[in-house]
Amino acid sequence: VKRYITTFYRRKWFYLFVLVVMLGMTGAGASYFSSGYESTGRIWVDRPTIARALDQNQIYYTTPAEEHSNMLYALFQTDSFIRLTLEGTALESELTGAPSEDRAIIRAVRQNLWQRSLGPNTIEITFLSDDPVLSQQVVANAIQGFREWEVNIRSEEVTAEIQLYEEQLEAQGIRVQEARQQLDAFMAENPEPEPGTAASLELQWLRREYETASVRHQEITNHLAEVRMINALSSVYGASEFRVLDEPRVPESESASLQRQLTWLVPGVLASFALIGGVVVLATWQDRSVHSAEDLARITSVPVIGVIPHIDTKNQGLIAQPEPGAHAASRARLADRPAD
Protein backbone atom coordinates (compact mmCIF):
# COMPACT_ATOMS: atom_id res chain seq x y z
CA VAL A 1 0.00 0.00 0.00
CA LYS A 2 2.82 2.35 0.89
CA ARG A 3 4.38 1.84 -2.53
CA TYR A 4 1.17 2.87 -4.26
CA ILE A 5 0.67 5.87 -1.99
CA THR A 6 4.27 6.90 -2.61
CA THR A 7 3.75 6.67 -6.36
CA PHE A 8 0.63 8.79 -6.08
CA TYR A 9 2.25 11.31 -3.75
CA ARG A 10 5.30 11.75 -5.97
CA ARG A 11 3.13 12.99 -8.85
CA LYS A 12 0.19 14.09 -6.76
CA TRP A 13 -0.41 17.34 -8.63
CA PHE A 14 -0.53 15.54 -11.96
CA TYR A 15 -2.93 12.91 -10.68
CA LEU A 16 -5.08 15.49 -8.93
CA PHE A 17 -5.16 17.62 -12.06
CA VAL A 18 -6.29 14.66 -14.17
CA LEU A 19 -8.85 13.74 -11.53
CA VAL A 20 -10.23 17.27 -11.38
CA VAL A 21 -10.44 17.43 -15.18
CA MET A 22 -12.24 14.10 -15.33
CA LEU A 23 -14.64 15.05 -12.56
CA GLY A 24 -15.29 18.33 -14.31
CA MET A 25 -16.01 16.51 -17.55
CA THR A 26 -18.28 14.11 -15.68
CA GLY A 27 -20.20 17.00 -14.15
CA ALA A 28 -20.51 18.78 -17.48
CA GLY A 29 -21.51 15.56 -19.23
CA ALA A 30 -24.08 14.71 -16.56
CA SER A 31 -25.57 18.18 -16.83
CA TYR A 32 -25.69 17.99 -20.64
CA PHE A 33 -26.96 14.46 -21.07
CA SER A 34 -29.50 14.52 -18.25
CA SER A 35 -31.14 17.80 -19.17
CA GLY A 36 -34.10 17.93 -21.51
CA TYR A 37 -37.88 18.11 -21.59
CA GLU A 38 -39.14 15.62 -19.06
CA SER A 39 -42.76 14.52 -18.98
CA THR A 40 -44.10 12.35 -16.17
CA GLY A 41 -47.32 10.43 -15.64
CA ARG A 42 -48.42 8.56 -12.52
CA ILE A 43 -50.79 5.60 -12.36
CA TRP A 44 -52.52 3.73 -9.59
CA VAL A 45 -52.43 -0.04 -9.87
CA ASP A 46 -53.92 -2.85 -7.80
CA ARG A 47 -54.56 -6.57 -7.99
CA PRO A 48 -57.88 -7.84 -9.42
CA THR A 49 -60.58 -6.91 -6.85
CA ILE A 50 -62.69 -10.05 -7.15
CA ALA A 51 -59.69 -12.36 -7.19
CA ARG A 52 -58.55 -10.76 -3.91
CA ALA A 53 -62.04 -11.09 -2.44
CA LEU A 54 -62.32 -14.73 -3.42
CA ASP A 55 -58.87 -15.69 -2.17
CA GLN A 56 -58.22 -13.65 0.95
CA ASN A 57 -55.64 -16.06 2.36
CA GLN A 58 -53.22 -15.44 -0.51
CA ILE A 59 -49.84 -14.06 0.72
CA TYR A 60 -48.12 -11.54 -1.54
CA TYR A 61 -44.40 -10.84 -1.29
CA THR A 62 -44.38 -7.81 -3.56
CA THR A 63 -46.59 -4.75 -3.69
CA PRO A 64 -48.90 -4.22 -6.68
CA ALA A 65 -46.70 -1.28 -7.73
CA GLU A 66 -43.59 -3.45 -7.72
CA GLU A 67 -45.37 -6.18 -9.69
CA HIS A 68 -46.64 -3.75 -12.30
CA SER A 69 -43.37 -1.85 -12.41
CA ASN A 70 -41.58 -5.08 -13.23
CA MET A 71 -44.13 -5.81 -15.94
CA LEU A 72 -43.71 -2.32 -17.33
CA TYR A 73 -39.93 -2.66 -17.32
CA ALA A 74 -40.23 -5.94 -19.20
CA LEU A 75 -42.49 -4.25 -21.75
CA PHE A 76 -40.00 -1.40 -22.21
CA GLN A 77 -37.44 -3.99 -23.26
CA THR A 78 -39.59 -5.12 -26.17
CA ASP A 79 -39.37 -3.37 -29.52
CA SER A 80 -43.08 -3.78 -30.14
CA PHE A 81 -44.03 -1.84 -27.03
CA ILE A 82 -41.54 0.93 -27.82
CA ARG A 83 -43.05 1.14 -31.31
CA LEU A 84 -46.44 1.41 -29.63
CA THR A 85 -45.28 4.37 -27.53
CA LEU A 86 -44.22 6.17 -30.71
CA GLU A 87 -47.61 5.90 -32.41
CA GLY A 88 -48.86 9.30 -33.43
CA THR A 89 -45.57 11.01 -32.61
CA ALA A 90 -43.10 12.79 -34.87
CA LEU A 91 -40.77 9.85 -34.56
CA GLU A 92 -43.28 7.37 -35.95
CA SER A 93 -42.64 8.55 -39.48
CA GLU A 94 -38.97 7.79 -39.07
CA LEU A 95 -39.65 4.15 -38.27
CA THR A 96 -39.35 1.95 -41.35
CA GLY A 97 -40.45 -1.32 -39.85
CA ALA A 98 -37.07 -2.91 -40.51
CA PRO A 99 -35.53 -3.86 -37.14
CA SER A 100 -31.98 -3.12 -38.25
CA GLU A 101 -32.90 0.40 -39.39
CA ASP A 102 -35.16 1.24 -36.46
CA ARG A 103 -32.73 -0.04 -33.85
CA ALA A 104 -31.10 3.33 -33.15
CA ILE A 105 -34.43 5.13 -32.63
CA ILE A 106 -35.83 2.37 -30.45
CA ARG A 107 -32.66 2.26 -28.37
CA ALA A 108 -32.67 6.03 -27.88
CA VAL A 109 -36.31 5.96 -26.76
CA ARG A 110 -35.69 3.02 -24.45
CA GLN A 111 -32.72 4.75 -22.80
CA ASN A 112 -34.80 7.79 -21.97
CA LEU A 113 -37.97 6.01 -20.89
CA TRP A 114 -38.07 4.70 -17.37
CA GLN A 115 -40.49 3.75 -14.62
CA ARG A 116 -40.35 3.49 -10.86
CA SER A 117 -42.74 2.57 -8.10
CA LEU A 118 -43.80 5.22 -5.61
CA GLY A 119 -45.21 3.46 -2.59
CA PRO A 120 -47.26 0.25 -2.77
CA ASN A 121 -49.69 1.22 -5.52
CA THR A 122 -48.27 4.09 -7.55
CA ILE A 123 -46.01 3.92 -10.60
CA GLU A 124 -44.30 6.88 -12.21
CA ILE A 125 -43.46 6.81 -15.91
CA THR A 126 -41.05 9.42 -17.28
CA PHE A 127 -39.64 10.21 -20.68
CA LEU A 128 -36.83 12.67 -21.46
CA SER A 129 -36.51 14.23 -24.86
CA ASP A 130 -35.38 17.33 -26.71
CA ASP A 131 -38.93 17.67 -27.95
CA PRO A 132 -41.45 18.55 -25.18
CA VAL A 133 -44.46 17.36 -27.20
CA LEU A 134 -42.81 14.04 -28.01
CA SER A 135 -42.00 13.65 -24.34
CA GLN A 136 -45.67 13.99 -23.35
CA GLN A 137 -46.89 11.77 -26.19
CA VAL A 138 -44.55 8.90 -25.39
CA VAL A 139 -45.60 8.82 -21.72
CA ALA A 140 -49.28 9.02 -22.64
CA ASN A 141 -48.85 6.20 -25.16
CA ALA A 142 -46.92 4.14 -22.63
CA ILE A 143 -49.72 4.48 -20.06
CA GLN A 144 -52.42 3.70 -22.64
CA GLY A 145 -50.44 0.80 -24.02
CA PHE A 146 -49.87 -0.61 -20.57
CA ARG A 147 -53.57 -0.33 -19.71
CA GLU A 148 -54.60 -2.13 -22.91
CA TRP A 149 -51.96 -4.76 -22.40
CA GLU A 150 -53.21 -5.36 -18.85
CA VAL A 151 -56.88 -5.57 -19.97
CA ASN A 152 -55.95 -7.93 -22.77
CA ILE A 153 -53.88 -10.10 -20.49
CA ARG A 154 -56.69 -10.35 -17.94
CA SER A 155 -59.26 -11.01 -20.62
CA GLU A 156 -57.11 -13.72 -22.15
CA GLU A 157 -56.54 -15.26 -18.74
CA VAL A 158 -60.27 -15.31 -17.93
CA THR A 159 -61.17 -16.70 -21.35
CA ALA A 160 -58.61 -19.45 -20.96
CA GLU A 161 -59.89 -20.20 -17.47
CA ILE A 162 -63.50 -20.37 -18.62
CA GLN A 163 -62.53 -22.67 -21.45
CA LEU A 164 -60.63 -24.92 -19.06
CA TYR A 165 -63.52 -25.16 -16.59
CA GLU A 166 -66.03 -25.79 -19.36
CA GLU A 167 -63.96 -28.67 -20.66
CA GLN A 168 -63.58 -30.06 -17.14
CA LEU A 169 -67.31 -29.66 -16.57
CA GLU A 170 -68.17 -31.56 -19.72
CA ALA A 171 -65.81 -34.40 -18.82
CA GLN A 172 -67.10 -34.52 -15.28
CA GLY A 173 -70.73 -34.55 -16.53
CA ILE A 174 -69.96 -37.66 -18.56
CA ARG A 175 -68.45 -39.30 -15.47
CA VAL A 176 -71.57 -38.52 -13.42
CA GLN A 177 -73.76 -39.90 -16.14
CA GLU A 178 -71.70 -43.10 -16.41
CA ALA A 179 -71.70 -43.58 -12.65
CA ARG A 180 -75.50 -43.12 -12.57
CA GLN A 181 -75.97 -45.67 -15.36
CA GLN A 182 -73.76 -48.23 -13.66
CA LEU A 183 -75.65 -47.75 -10.39
CA ASP A 184 -79.05 -48.03 -12.05
CA ALA A 185 -78.00 -51.17 -13.96
CA PHE A 186 -76.67 -52.86 -10.82
CA MET A 187 -79.83 -52.01 -8.82
CA ALA A 188 -81.98 -53.44 -11.62
CA GLU A 189 -80.15 -56.75 -11.37
CA ASN A 190 -79.87 -56.73 -7.57
CA PRO A 191 -82.95 -54.85 -6.22
CA GLU A 192 -82.41 -55.78 -2.57
CA PRO A 193 -79.05 -57.43 -1.87
CA GLU A 194 -78.49 -59.13 1.48
CA PRO A 195 -76.42 -56.97 3.88
CA GLY A 196 -72.82 -58.22 4.15
CA THR A 197 -72.85 -59.93 0.78
CA ALA A 198 -70.56 -59.08 -2.13
CA ALA A 199 -73.47 -57.56 -4.04
CA SER A 200 -74.22 -55.27 -1.09
CA LEU A 201 -70.59 -54.04 -0.92
CA GLU A 202 -70.46 -53.34 -4.66
CA LEU A 203 -73.70 -51.38 -4.47
CA GLN A 204 -72.17 -49.18 -1.73
CA TRP A 205 -69.07 -48.62 -3.84
CA LEU A 206 -71.13 -47.63 -6.91
CA ARG A 207 -73.14 -45.19 -4.81
CA ARG A 208 -69.95 -43.55 -3.47
CA GLU A 209 -68.55 -43.24 -7.02
CA TYR A 210 -71.70 -41.49 -8.16
CA GLU A 211 -71.73 -39.12 -5.14
CA THR A 212 -68.03 -38.21 -5.56
CA ALA A 213 -68.48 -37.48 -9.27
CA SER A 214 -71.54 -35.36 -8.51
CA VAL A 215 -69.68 -33.32 -5.85
CA ARG A 216 -66.75 -32.68 -8.18
CA HIS A 217 -69.16 -31.66 -10.95
CA GLN A 218 -70.79 -29.19 -8.61
CA GLU A 219 -67.40 -27.70 -7.61
CA ILE A 220 -66.43 -27.12 -11.22
CA THR A 221 -69.81 -25.59 -11.89
CA ASN A 222 -69.24 -23.16 -8.98
CA HIS A 223 -65.70 -22.20 -10.18
CA LEU A 224 -67.02 -21.58 -13.67
CA ALA A 225 -69.72 -19.36 -12.27
CA GLU A 226 -67.12 -17.36 -10.29
CA VAL A 227 -64.90 -16.86 -13.32
CA ARG A 228 -67.84 -15.79 -15.43
CA MET A 229 -68.83 -13.34 -12.72
CA ILE A 230 -65.28 -11.91 -12.61
CA ASN A 231 -65.33 -11.54 -16.36
CA ALA A 232 -68.70 -9.86 -16.28
CA LEU A 233 -67.68 -7.44 -13.53
CA SER A 234 -64.12 -6.71 -14.70
CA SER A 235 -65.24 -3.64 -16.61
CA VAL A 236 -66.84 -2.36 -13.41
CA TYR A 237 -63.92 -3.06 -11.04
CA GLY A 238 -61.19 -2.47 -13.60
CA ALA A 239 -61.49 1.24 -12.98
CA SER A 240 -60.32 0.81 -9.39
CA GLU A 241 -57.47 -1.52 -10.42
CA PHE A 242 -55.89 0.84 -12.94
CA ARG A 243 -56.28 4.59 -12.63
CA VAL A 244 -54.30 7.43 -14.11
CA LEU A 245 -53.46 9.74 -11.21
CA ASP A 246 -51.45 12.34 -13.13
CA GLU A 247 -51.81 12.68 -16.85
CA PRO A 248 -48.49 13.50 -18.53
CA ARG A 249 -48.23 17.15 -19.53
CA VAL A 250 -46.16 18.91 -22.13
CA PRO A 251 -43.17 20.28 -20.16
CA GLU A 252 -42.63 24.03 -20.44
CA SER A 253 -38.95 24.14 -19.63
CA GLU A 254 -35.91 21.89 -19.64
CA SER A 255 -34.99 20.16 -16.44
CA ALA A 256 -32.47 17.71 -15.06
CA SER A 257 -33.62 15.67 -12.14
CA LEU A 258 -31.10 14.75 -9.47
CA GLN A 259 -31.82 11.08 -9.99
CA ARG A 260 -31.13 11.38 -13.70
CA GLN A 261 -27.94 13.34 -13.06
CA LEU A 262 -26.81 10.73 -10.56
CA THR A 263 -27.13 8.02 -13.19
CA TRP A 264 -24.38 9.85 -15.07
CA LEU A 265 -22.47 11.27 -12.11
CA VAL A 266 -22.00 8.10 -10.09
CA PRO A 267 -20.46 5.99 -12.90
CA GLY A 268 -18.43 9.00 -14.03
CA VAL A 269 -16.98 9.66 -10.58
CA LEU A 270 -16.31 5.97 -10.01
CA ALA A 271 -14.65 5.68 -13.42
CA SER A 272 -12.48 8.74 -12.70
CA PHE A 273 -11.20 7.33 -9.42
CA ALA A 274 -10.79 3.88 -10.97
CA LEU A 275 -8.74 5.33 -13.82
CA ILE A 276 -6.45 7.26 -11.48
CA GLY A 277 -6.13 4.19 -9.26
CA GLY A 278 -5.30 2.05 -12.29
CA VAL A 279 -2.67 4.48 -13.52
CA VAL A 280 -1.10 4.61 -10.04
CA VAL A 281 -1.02 0.81 -9.84
CA LEU A 282 0.48 0.57 -13.32
CA ALA A 283 3.05 3.28 -12.57
CA THR A 284 4.02 1.47 -9.38
CA TRP A 285 4.48 -1.82 -11.23
CA GLN A 286 6.50 -0.13 -13.93
CA ASP A 287 8.71 1.79 -11.50
CA ARG A 288 12.05 0.01 -11.22
CA SER A 289 14.03 3.03 -10.02
CA VAL A 290 16.17 3.24 -6.91
CA HIS A 291 14.25 4.64 -3.97
CA SER A 292 16.48 3.90 -1.00
CA ALA A 293 19.75 2.45 0.20
CA GLU A 294 17.85 -0.79 0.90
CA ASP A 295 17.01 -1.10 -2.79
CA LEU A 296 20.72 -0.88 -3.62
CA ALA A 297 21.65 -3.34 -0.89
CA ARG A 298 19.46 -5.92 -2.60
CA ILE A 299 21.46 -5.86 -5.83
CA THR A 300 25.06 -5.18 -4.77
CA SER A 301 27.47 -5.46 -1.89
CA VAL A 302 28.92 -2.02 -2.69
CA PRO A 303 28.08 0.13 0.35
CA VAL A 304 26.06 3.31 0.18
CA ILE A 305 28.53 5.83 1.55
CA GLY A 306 26.32 8.86 1.33
CA VAL A 307 22.72 9.93 0.95
CA ILE A 308 22.59 13.45 -0.40
CA PRO A 309 19.17 14.99 0.19
CA HIS A 310 17.40 17.05 -2.38
CA ILE A 311 18.33 20.64 -1.70
CA ASP A 312 17.51 23.50 -3.99
CA THR A 313 20.98 24.89 -4.67
CA LYS A 314 19.85 27.45 -7.23
CA ASN A 315 20.25 30.27 -4.74
CA GLN A 316 23.40 28.83 -3.26
CA GLY A 317 25.30 28.37 -6.51
CA LEU A 318 27.73 25.62 -7.34
CA ILE A 319 30.31 27.14 -5.03
CA ALA A 320 28.40 28.32 -2.01
CA GLN A 321 31.06 30.52 -0.47
CA PRO A 322 33.21 31.89 -3.29
CA GLU A 323 36.35 33.65 -2.37
CA PRO A 324 36.46 37.38 -3.10
CA GLY A 325 37.74 37.80 -6.61
CA ALA A 326 36.66 34.34 -7.62
CA HIS A 327 34.91 35.82 -10.65
CA ALA A 328 38.39 36.54 -11.99
CA ALA A 329 39.53 32.97 -11.50
CA SER A 330 40.38 32.69 -15.16
CA ARG A 331 43.39 34.85 -14.45
CA ALA A 332 44.36 33.02 -11.27
CA ARG A 333 45.97 29.78 -12.27
CA LEU A 334 48.18 27.48 -10.38
CA ALA A 335 51.07 28.52 -12.60
CA ASP A 336 51.15 31.55 -14.84
CA ARG A 337 51.52 30.89 -18.51
CA PRO A 338 54.68 32.50 -19.84
CA ALA A 339 54.00 35.41 -22.13
CA ASP A 340 53.87 34.22 -25.76
Binding site: A293, V302, P303, I305, I308, I311, G317
Partner: protein
Protein backbone atom coordinates in the same frame (compact mmCIF):
# COMPACT_ATOMS: atom_id res chain seq x y z
CA UNK B 1 14.17 16.88 6.30
CA UNK B 2 15.72 18.95 3.58
CA UNK B 3 14.66 22.53 3.25
CA UNK B 4 15.79 25.36 1.07
CA UNK B 5 17.75 26.96 3.91
CA UNK B 6 19.82 23.85 4.52
CA UNK B 7 23.10 23.20 2.78
CA UNK B 8 24.33 19.87 1.58
CA UNK B 9 27.73 20.40 3.22
CA UNK B 10 27.24 18.01 6.16
CA UNK B 11 26.03 15.27 3.83
CA UNK B 12 28.92 15.78 1.41
CA UNK B 13 31.40 15.90 4.28
CA UNK B 14 29.91 12.69 5.64
CA UNK B 15 30.25 11.05 2.23
CA UNK B 16 33.85 12.19 1.88
CA UNK B 17 34.71 10.97 5.39
CA UNK B 18 33.25 7.53 4.71
CA UNK B 19 35.23 7.41 1.52
CA UNK B 20 38.46 8.15 3.40
CA UNK B 21 37.62 5.64 6.13
CA UNK B 22 36.99 2.99 3.52
CA UNK B 23 40.49 3.55 2.14
CA UNK B 24 42.94 1.50 4.17
CA UNK B 25 45.98 2.69 2.25
CA UNK B 26 48.03 5.74 3.08
CA UNK B 27 45.24 7.95 1.79
CA UNK B 28 43.70 8.35 -1.59
CA UNK B 29 44.50 11.25 -3.85
CA UNK B 30 42.41 10.66 -6.90
CA UNK B 31 38.71 10.02 -6.56
CA UNK B 32 36.63 9.27 -9.65
CA UNK B 33 32.97 10.27 -9.65
CA UNK B 34 30.88 8.46 -12.20
CA UNK B 35 27.34 7.23 -12.68
CA UNK B 36 25.45 4.61 -14.64
CA UNK B 37 23.85 7.09 -17.03
CA UNK B 38 24.02 10.83 -17.61
CA UNK B 39 22.02 13.29 -15.54
CA UNK B 40 22.64 11.74 -12.15
CA UNK B 41 24.30 14.89 -10.74
CA UNK B 42 27.89 13.67 -10.71
CA UNK B 43 29.38 17.01 -11.84
CA UNK B 44 27.59 18.89 -9.10
CA UNK B 45 28.55 16.28 -6.53
CA UNK B 46 32.18 16.24 -7.67
CA UNK B 47 32.33 20.02 -7.29
CA UNK B 48 30.64 19.89 -3.89
CA UNK B 49 33.00 17.20 -2.58
CA UNK B 50 35.98 19.27 -3.72
CA UNK B 51 34.54 22.50 -2.34
CA UNK B 52 33.78 21.03 1.08
CA UNK B 53 37.19 19.47 1.26
CA UNK B 54 38.84 22.76 0.29
CA UNK B 55 36.79 24.68 2.85
CA UNK B 56 37.77 22.22 5.57
CA UNK B 57 41.42 22.77 4.68
CA UNK B 58 40.87 26.51 4.68
CA UNK B 59 39.28 26.47 8.13
CA UNK B 60 42.19 24.46 9.43
CA UNK B 61 44.54 27.20 8.14
CA UNK B 62 46.60 24.68 6.28
CA UNK B 63 49.12 26.73 4.41
CA UNK B 64 50.85 23.85 2.73
CA UNK B 65 50.82 24.03 -1.04
CA UNK B 66 50.29 20.28 -1.06
CA UNK B 67 46.83 20.74 0.42
CA UNK B 68 45.10 21.81 -2.72
CA UNK B 69 41.96 20.23 -4.12
CA UNK B 70 41.19 20.03 -7.81
CA UNK B 71 38.23 18.96 -9.89
CA UNK B 72 39.24 17.52 -13.24
CA UNK B 73 36.58 17.56 -15.92
CA UNK B 74 36.77 14.36 -17.93
CA UNK B 75 33.22 14.50 -19.30
CA UNK B 76 32.87 18.05 -20.57
CA UNK B 77 30.06 18.76 -18.14
CA UNK B 78 31.93 21.59 -16.41
CA UNK B 79 31.84 23.68 -19.58
CA UNK B 80 28.27 24.73 -18.95
CA UNK B 81 29.28 26.01 -15.51
CA UNK B 82 32.37 27.85 -16.77
CA UNK B 83 30.79 31.29 -16.60
CA UNK B 84 29.61 30.74 -13.06
CA UNK B 85 33.02 29.43 -12.06
CA UNK B 86 34.85 32.13 -14.01
CA UNK B 87 37.06 29.80 -15.98
CA UNK B 88 38.13 29.55 -19.60
CA UNK B 89 36.71 26.27 -20.93
CA UNK B 90 38.91 26.53 -24.02
CA UNK B 91 42.06 25.61 -22.11
CA UNK B 92 42.12 22.39 -20.17
CA UNK B 93 42.90 18.70 -20.01
CA UNK B 94 43.00 18.29 -23.80
CA UNK B 95 45.61 21.05 -24.18
CA UNK B 96 47.73 19.33 -21.51
CA UNK B 97 47.51 16.00 -23.35
CA UNK B 98 48.58 17.71 -26.55
CA UNK B 99 51.61 19.06 -24.67
CA UNK B 100 50.69 22.68 -25.18
CA UNK B 101 50.09 23.50 -21.51
CA UNK B 102 51.37 22.35 -18.13
CA UNK B 103 49.00 21.23 -15.38
CA UNK B 104 49.62 24.49 -13.53
CA UNK B 105 48.52 26.45 -16.56
CA UNK B 106 45.19 24.68 -16.93
CA UNK B 107 44.28 24.55 -13.23
CA UNK B 108 42.03 27.51 -12.52
CA UNK B 109 41.82 28.70 -8.94
CA UNK B 110 38.26 29.03 -7.71
CA UNK B 111 38.87 29.53 -3.99
CA UNK B 112 42.01 29.47 -1.91
CA UNK B 113 42.42 25.71 -2.08
CA UNK B 114 39.97 24.78 -4.79
CA UNK B 115 41.04 24.46 -8.42
CA UNK B 116 39.29 23.32 -11.54
CA UNK B 117 40.72 21.73 -14.66
CA UNK B 118 38.25 22.02 -17.54
CA UNK B 119 38.17 19.57 -20.42
CA UNK B 120 39.20 22.18 -22.95
CA UNK B 121 37.43 20.76 -26.00
CA UNK B 122 35.06 18.14 -27.25
CA UNK B 123 34.60 14.80 -25.60
CA UNK B 124 35.37 13.00 -28.86
CA UNK B 125 38.78 14.67 -28.99
CA UNK B 126 39.44 13.81 -25.36
CA UNK B 127 38.36 10.24 -25.97
CA UNK B 128 40.90 9.92 -28.73
CA UNK B 129 43.75 11.60 -26.83
CA UNK B 130 43.51 9.45 -23.67
CA UNK B 131 44.09 6.41 -25.85
CA UNK B 132 47.11 7.79 -27.67
CA UNK B 133 49.03 10.09 -25.31
CA UNK B 134 51.06 9.76 -22.14
CA UNK B 135 48.23 9.65 -19.66
CA UNK B 136 50.26 8.37 -16.69
CA UNK B 137 52.33 11.56 -16.74
CA UNK B 138 49.19 13.58 -16.08
CA UNK B 139 48.33 11.51 -13.00
CA UNK B 140 51.87 11.89 -11.66
CA UNK B 141 51.60 15.66 -11.99
CA UNK B 142 48.18 15.61 -10.43
CA UNK B 143 49.30 13.63 -7.39
CA UNK B 144 52.38 15.81 -7.00
CA UNK B 145 50.59 19.11 -7.00
CA UNK B 146 47.27 18.39 -5.32
CA UNK B 147 46.27 16.83 -2.05
CA UNK B 148 43.01 15.56 -3.53
CA UNK B 149 41.82 15.29 -7.10
CA UNK B 150 38.18 14.68 -7.91
CA UNK B 151 37.56 13.38 -11.40
CA UNK B 152 34.24 14.21 -13.00
CA UNK B 153 34.05 11.14 -15.24
CA UNK B 154 31.67 10.18 -18.03
CA UNK B 155 28.85 7.75 -17.28
CA UNK B 156 29.89 4.13 -16.97
CA UNK B 157 27.34 2.73 -19.42
CA UNK B 158 27.84 5.53 -21.94
CA UNK B 159 31.49 5.12 -22.93
CA UNK B 160 34.51 2.96 -22.30
CA UNK B 161 36.49 6.13 -21.41
CA UNK B 162 35.26 5.64 -17.87
CA UNK B 163 36.87 2.21 -17.68
CA UNK B 164 40.10 3.56 -19.06
CA UNK B 165 40.19 6.46 -16.60
CA UNK B 166 39.17 4.16 -13.75
CA UNK B 167 42.58 2.48 -14.08
CA UNK B 168 44.21 5.63 -12.69
CA UNK B 169 41.89 6.51 -9.81
CA UNK B 170 42.26 5.35 -6.21
CA UNK B 171 38.55 5.27 -5.45
CA UNK B 172 35.41 5.25 -7.55
CA UNK B 173 32.16 6.76 -6.37
CA UNK B 174 29.01 5.79 -8.26
CA UNK B 175 26.34 8.49 -8.17
CA UNK B 176 22.74 7.25 -8.31
CA UNK B 177 19.86 9.67 -8.51
CA UNK B 178 17.13 8.66 -6.13
CA UNK B 179 13.71 7.78 -7.60
CA UNK B 180 15.12 8.09 -11.09
CA UNK B 181 17.90 5.65 -11.95
CA UNK B 182 16.64 2.17 -12.80
CA UNK B 183 18.09 -0.53 -10.56
CA UNK B 184 19.08 -2.58 -13.58
CA UNK B 185 21.29 0.26 -14.84
CA UNK B 186 23.02 0.54 -11.47
CA UNK B 187 23.56 -3.20 -11.44
CA UNK B 188 24.98 -3.11 -14.98
CA UNK B 189 27.30 -0.19 -14.18
CA UNK B 190 28.74 -1.89 -11.10
CA UNK B 191 29.19 -5.13 -13.02
CA UNK B 192 30.87 -3.21 -15.82
CA UNK B 193 33.29 -1.32 -13.55
CA UNK B 194 33.95 -4.23 -11.23
CA UNK B 195 32.39 -4.40 -7.79
CA UNK B 196 35.75 -4.31 -6.02
CA UNK B 197 36.71 -1.12 -7.79
CA UNK B 198 33.67 0.89 -6.69
CA UNK B 199 34.32 2.23 -3.18
CA UNK B 200 30.76 3.30 -2.59
CA UNK B 201 27.48 4.59 -3.91
CA UNK B 202 26.24 8.12 -3.38
CA UNK B 203 22.44 8.24 -3.41
CA UNK B 204 21.88 11.68 -4.80
CA UNK B 205 18.92 14.07 -4.73
CA UNK B 206 17.11 11.91 -2.23
CA UNK B 207 13.69 13.03 -1.10
CA UNK B 208 11.51 11.57 1.59
CA UNK B 209 8.83 9.81 -0.46
CA UNK B 210 6.04 10.69 1.93
CA UNK B 211 5.55 13.45 4.48
CA UNK B 212 6.10 12.35 8.06
CA UNK B 213 2.43 12.67 8.99
CA UNK B 214 1.47 10.17 6.27
CA UNK B 215 4.46 7.91 6.80
CA UNK B 216 3.71 7.57 10.52
CA UNK B 217 0.19 6.33 9.74
CA UNK B 218 1.29 3.59 7.36
Amino acid sequence: MATQEKTIDPYVRDLYTRLRLADHNSGHKVVGVTSAINGEGKTTLALQIARVRAEDLNRAHVRDREHRVVVVDCSGSLAKHSEQLGIEPAHGFIQYLRGNYTLGEIAFRITQYLYVVPLGGSHEEFSSLIRTTDLPAFWRDLRDQFETAILDMPSALGTSDTHLLAEYVDELVLVVRSQSTPLTYVEAAIRSLGESRVAGIALNDHRDPLPAWIDSRL
